[in-house]
């Protein structure tokens, strides 16, 4: 078992989300940085879809109640096991009684912890993710709290790790943002792109948008010079997806994310490509983001490239696990 000692600002159980239920209003949920959770799972010998913990901005602490392999990925955070520093993107064994802490990240926002076997909470509608707005899934349908005790599944690969191993996160660009620079995000234009005044489109692409502090898993609200919405009107409600860049009457864009409503009616400039969505998981509040347009072909290439990187990491991890057992 795992005991949550401090959850930090927001910690929740997430897997790869709950697809397939949008037509009844149930959104995706799931890990915001999907690649980070997948890699953490692979590092401990899990299927990449196993449930782990997503933590936000550190302040997180847990205690192992039995010997368990674990992995930490995501933000470049200051992580310790019983006070001893652990690199980020790292896997090793913990003994019963040891305490894992994740402090506020130097770079990035969300840290993922996976455990051999994966967290054992009931599947609700095909997923173990917490739907925080809907109040179901994950642990009792809510964010983790101090004192919560989490069960783990028996791992399929029960081998112990004699030593830890890790990935050179910065070198491999596994943390998708760079400090001090505006994070570049690619998107495909959506239905109303052409309806916005040309100047507004230009300003949207030129601006370095600032992430407002009330941004969260539902969406990122961006601050900058308000865009002229011209003759663009509200629309009949239609299905929207994580990455949809809407412009409400305020003229300040909102990027819808994993916990967003499934339908909306604000005019939309575009939809962020799948390969770049994880950048929002690691983009800090107060951080800067800028947008560029790409074609569907380029978006698909970026997705293939991300899958190729993941495949390479999986191969490396399989080798590393053999080496450290």
């Amino acid at each position: 078992m795992i005991e949550i000692v401090h959850p930090g600002i927001l910690a929740s159980i997430q897997d790869l989300g709950r697809p397939g239920y949008r037509r009844i209003g149930v959104g995706l949920s799931g890990a915001m940085d999907e690649l980070a959770l997948k890699v953490a799972n692979i590092m401990v010998g899990n299927p990449s879809s196993a449930a782990g913990i997503e933590t936000t901005l550190g302040g997180f602490e847990l205690r192992f109640t039995r010997d368990t392999s674990f992995a930490v990925t995501g933000a470049d955070a200051d992580v310790t096991l019983d006070g001893g520093a652990i690199p980020c993107w790292w896997a090793q064994d913990a003994r019963a009684g040891q305490v894992l802490k994740a402090r506020s990240p130097r770079l990035g926002m969300r840290t993922y912890v996976a455990f051999a076997g994966g967290i054992d909470v009931p599947e609700v509608m095909g997923s173990r993710s917490t739907d925080l707005k809907g109040g179901f899934g994950g642990f009792a349908g809510r964010a983790l709290a101090a004192g919560d005790m989490l069960d783990l599944h028996e791992p399929a690969d029960a081998s112990r790790l004699k030593r830890g191993f890790g990935l050179s996160a910065r070198k491999a660009s596994l943390i998708p943002i760079v400090s001090e620079e505006a994070t570049a995000v690619r998107m495909l234009p959506a239905a109303e792109w052409e309806v916005f005044p040309p100047l507004a489109r230009e300003e949207f692409l030129d601006a370095h948008w600032k992430v407002l502090p009330d941004s969260n898993r539902i969406g990122y609200r961006l601050d900058g010079a308000a865009l002229d919405t011209g003759n663009v009107k509200e629309l009949l409600s239609h299905g929207i997806l994580p990455g949809t860049v809407q412009v409400p009457p305020s003229g300040k864009p909102v990027v819808q994310l994993n916990d967003a409503n499934t339908c909306g009616g604000y005019p939309k400039l575009g939809v962020v490509i799948a390969a770049d969505l994880r950048k929002f998981a690691q983009l800090r509040l107060g951080g800067l983001v800028r947008f560029s347009l790409v074609t569907a072909g380029e978006a698909v290439e970026a997705l293939k490239e991300q899958q190729r990187v993941l495949q390479q990491i999986a191969t490396q991890c399989t080798l590393a696990r053999r080496f450290v057992q």
Binding site: R23, G25, K133, L236, G239, L241, C263, V271, A296, A299
Partner: protein, 224 residues
């Protein structure tokens, strides 16, 4: 049929590299068009490479696997299926929704009735007399977008949404009516409350309502 000039044409736009939004240029809400979108959704859902379909208000979002489906081919297929004119008229169930109108749980009732130039009793009886159809579920789990609101009751949304509106709140937003299935922020106006539960994730059929169902609001009481 020789001429199809009045036929609503399907327009496509990308929603990222893995989804297409299908819409028509028809103004306002149209139930017969919605019935065609329901049929199109059922039809296309079974196609290889299609991941998920999301019927909206006179529109349809089609999500696909971009590594195994070509959006142009998919658009051509959708155009073809739409042109068949197939509709799915749903003989949905009728759900009675008992409502306590007004009071603290319906705090906007007095002023939006006044805005509409109606007494509270007139406003409530018009609201309860409506024959509402569930067009689509969306926004939040089990939330039904309803068509059929008497236009005299339509009220533009709030400038600023309330941060927290209770589940069961009976609400009006523009020309749309609904009942909140989950406590949530909302910019719609609150006119009453029902005890009915609209979403239970533990059930095999998690939502009380499905597209095509009819909703009848029943006046339980009107509070001052």
């Amino acid at each position: 049929m020789d001429s199809r000039s009045d036929e609503p044409e399907l327009h496509f736009s990308a929603m990222g590299e893995a989804a297409l939004l299908c819409q028509t240029a028809t103004a306002g809400l149209d139930l017969s068009e919605q019935e065609r979108f329901w049929a199109l959704a059922d039809d296309i859902e079974r196609e290889p490479g299609v991941r998920e379909v999301v019927p909206g208000m006179n529109n349809l979002l089609v999500m696909f696997d971009p590594l195994n489906a070509d959006p142009r081919a998919l658009a051509a297929l959708l155009t073809d299926r739409w042109a068949s004119g197939k509709a799915r008229a749903v003989a949905g169930k009728i759900v009675e929704v008992p409502v306590s109108y007004g009071g603290v749980d319906g705090e906007d009732l007095n002023w939006i009735a006044e805005r509409a130039g109606l007494s509270v009793e007139e406003f409530v009886s018009l609201h309860a007399a409506g024959d509402y159809t569930v067009y689509a579920l969306g926004s939040q789990p089990g939330f039904a977008y309803l068509g059929g609101l008497d236009m005299r009751l339509a009220t533009p949304r709030r400038e600023t949404p309330r941060p927290r509106v209770e589940a069961g709140s009976v609400i009006i937003g523009g020309a749309q009516a609904g009942v909140l299935s989950r406590t949530t922020p909302s910019g719609w106006h609150i006119i009453g409350r029902t005890e009915l539960e609209f979403f239970n994730p533990e059930e095999a059929e998690p939502t009380l309502l499905l597209p095509g169902d009819k909703l009848w609001f029943v006046v339980k009481e009107i509070k001052a």
